[in-house]
């Protein structure tokens, strides 16, 4: 399985770091991309990830009210909701897209959520709807 | 000659069985699109003109030229034979115009491979649609210039073969000769002029109007969308793109002279940065610059008039040049 996670630098990436330092295991299928803020995540990147064969995409950011840039994660939630509803409408398996709030001290939560999401994606199987190779 | 039965459908079955790739109009919703088909009952011939033109068979919208990864792999040119079934006189003439562009001077090997064994089966027109004007270019809508021509006159299916390839093809079918009366009916049908629009092309006036503010007026509503060029049967602009990073492909894709960055040069200068310049260039290309190749590059199919979202009408624009 290939799972791409966009983790915000200040909270969720630090949380992932903490999971690593505490030796908490979560599957290697998860590839983390560090962005400065979850509000930076462009829906085009998410669709591009699916197009290139990602089986699941996670947007991880700070809890509402805790964003380092004040309101970045609010934009992330808005975009996530719109994209998810649209994907649902066209019949794409929208369970493959996930939004996660994880703070810098929640290493355990990060690892648990990633493991649970990987299991969910494994049950769904490989993503064939938007994957495209020549 | 006359065929008892549905010639077009039987022809498609024969062609598919002989290993040809067959392109024919397919009914989608309320209209028709030219597409590659894999069985004879996908085709539908109840139309005046399909939305897109037959150039998709010879000059596809995307074509992979090279694949690269650790090595560069040149994709071999597809040499499978192609047949285009169900085109009209305008599209048939357009294929001849595309030949002039792709096969004279620098020979395009991809086009040549597809064109060499191309079989065209055309249908003669009964009536014109609201925006047809092929007769202004000397095209007879009832006598298309194709390998095989099928006309439905008075409920009978008349088939005529106009070339060696066409004659070889129709030999496989049981055609009976025409009676004298039937010949007369066919000749009357072929020589009848259909009522349709006319375009007045005055090349001298066109030449002199290069700096005229007329073009700014014409281009008021133009949105530079490029639809006219994509649906036009004689437009041939393309661009070559590399897609991918470590591994990828080089593809040739349709480009349009109406896109804003079509004429962007590496120095970042863009001689046609305004949409009226691009629109003027399109009309000049169709009626003046291409005279070098010997013919107007418009066949009067009327697709650009029917589908332009801005309502720009090539007949009015050219007839009203000042």
């Amino acid at each position: 399985m290939k799972i791409v996670t966009f983790a915000c630098n200040w909270c969720s990436y630090a949380g992932a770091d903490l999971a690593g330092v505490s030796r908490l295991k979560y599957p290697e299928d998860v590839k983390i991309v560090r962005v400065m803020c979850s509000g930076m995540v462009n829906p085009a990147w998410i669709l591009r990830a699916f197009r290139q064969g990602a089986d699941g995409v996670v947007i991880a950011g700070c809890h509402p009210g805790d964003c380092h840039y004040m309101v970045g994660n609010y934009y992330a939630k808005k975009r996530y909701l719109l994209l998810k509803e649209l994907m649902k409408f066209i019949g794409f398996e929208d369970e493959r897209l996930k939004l996660l709030w994880a703070s810098a001290s929640e290493g355990k939560k990060f690892a648990e959520e990633m493991s649970a999401f990987t299991k969910l994606v494994e049950q769904l199987g490989e993503q064939k709807q938007l994957r495209w190779e020549r | 000659m006359i065929y008892e039965g549905d010639f077009l459908r039987d022809a498609i079955s024969n062609l598919l069985a002989a290993g040809y790739r067959v392109f024919a109009p397919v009914k989608v919703g309320d209209f028709h699109i030219f597409r590659e088909i894999s069985s004879a009952n996908e085709a539908d011939f109840n139309y005046i003109l399909p939305r897109n033109s037959a150039k998709v068979a010879l000059f596809p919208q995307n074509e992979v030229l090279i694949e690269y990864g650790e090595w560069i792999e040149k994709i071999p040119i597809d040499k499978k034979k192609i047949a285009v079934v169900g085109i009209r006189a305008c599209d048939a003439k357009a294929i001849k115009l595309l030949d002039k562009h792709f096969l004279e001077g620098f020979v395009d090997p991809y086009y040549k491979a597809r064109r060499e064994e191309l079989l065209t089966i055309a249908i003669a027109c009964d009536n014109a649609s609201i925006n047809c004007f092929c007769q202004s270019f000397g095209i007879n809508p009832r006598k298309p210039e194709a390998d095989v021509v099928v006309s439905n006159i008075d409920g009978k299916v008349f088939v005529s073969a106009n070339s060696e390839a066409g004659k070889a093809f129709v030999r496989e079918f049981k055609l009976r000769g025409e009676s004298e009366e039937e010949s007369m009916i066919r000749e009357r049908f072929e020589n009848e002029k259909i009522e349709m629009r006319k375009i007045d092309v005055d090349v001298e006036k066109l030449k002199k109007s290069f700096d005229s503010p007329y073009w700014k007026e014409v281009a008021t509503n133009c949105k530079s969308c490029g639809l006219c060029t994509y649906l036009c049967p004689t437009c041939f602009c393309f661009d070559i793109y590399d897609e991918g990073e470590r591994r990828g492909v080089r593809i040739r894709a349709w480009d349009s002279c109406q896109f804003p960055l079509h004429t962007l040069e590496s120095s970042s200068h863009n001689p046609r940065s305004e949409k009226w310049q691009r629109l003027r260039n399109r009309f000049y290309d169709k009626f003046y610059y291409t005279l070098r190749k010997g013919d107007y590059y418009c066949v009067g199919c009327g697709r650009c008039i029917d589908y332009c979202p801005a309502g720009i009408d090539i007949v009015n624009v050219i007839s009203g040049v000042r």
Binding site: W45, R79, L86 | V28, G29, G226, L227, S266
Partner: protein, 314 residues
Amino acid sequence: MNELEKIKEALRSSSAEKIVAFVRKENEPREVLAILSPNEIDRISFSPLSFNNPAKLLMQLNGKVAVVAKGCDAMAIKQLIKEGKLKRENLFIVGISCKGVADYRKLSKLVKLNEVTSVELEGDELVIKLKNGEKRVAFAEVVDENCVYCEHPTPVIYDVLIGEPREGKRDFSDVEEFEKLSREERWDYWISQFERCIRCHACRSVCPLCYCEECMVDPSNLAISPMSTAEDKASYPRLLGKTVNAKDNAIYHILRVLHHAGRCAGCGECERACPMELPLRKLERKLEKVVVETFGYDLNEDIPFLSKLDIVGD
């Protein structure tokens, strides 16, 4: 005074230097947009086939401009004013309380278009005047499907209003009907639609809200200056290739529609312009439903949707 006379009178009363209005297209019974000067007011025409949206044309003009706008056109103008692309003081809007436009494609199936001289709306009937005689059809048979669900038939901004104010309705039953289908059915439907798309970008070119000079999903439209180096141009992020296939087309349309969340005026120009007749309005309407129901936003508010940051649940 009939509707057209009222429009002309309203335009004469403005002090605009230029007028954006409908004129009759030659050879076809419909209207197209034109930029006129005040002494050409008599060329103006208006009928149920005046379906184009003048909002996009307004963005290319400077100075005081008068414009004839139906309900959806006025909404598009309001959105552009909200986003700072147009100035309210430069516009003189003759708003027309719209009863709907006729679908040109449906009309071309009922009559031969080259026999039609004009069309008029009389009550509930569309009167099609032919070269010899006339034909009457119920307007409900030829009305554009988009107009059936119109929420703002009365212009939301205007200087002069022609016609009685009418109530729109908020009705998402078509979207709800579609959502009842199973996931496979929905995917199969949409992929077969996107297969037809030829990426001509006509939908984007006619949309008044698609005014970005550099479109994110078009690799052939880049904002380059004379200062851009070759390295810049080569490594420009390309999110979509030029390859035309159903999946890339799906990504193109999803992204385009996402950019219109809370901004789409519902004029339907995209669907009319599409040569392959893709059901683009369906996608936009789904987003309109989400914006209205989940976020509680009304298009008529004075703040753009993107500035509102109410978060919904967790």
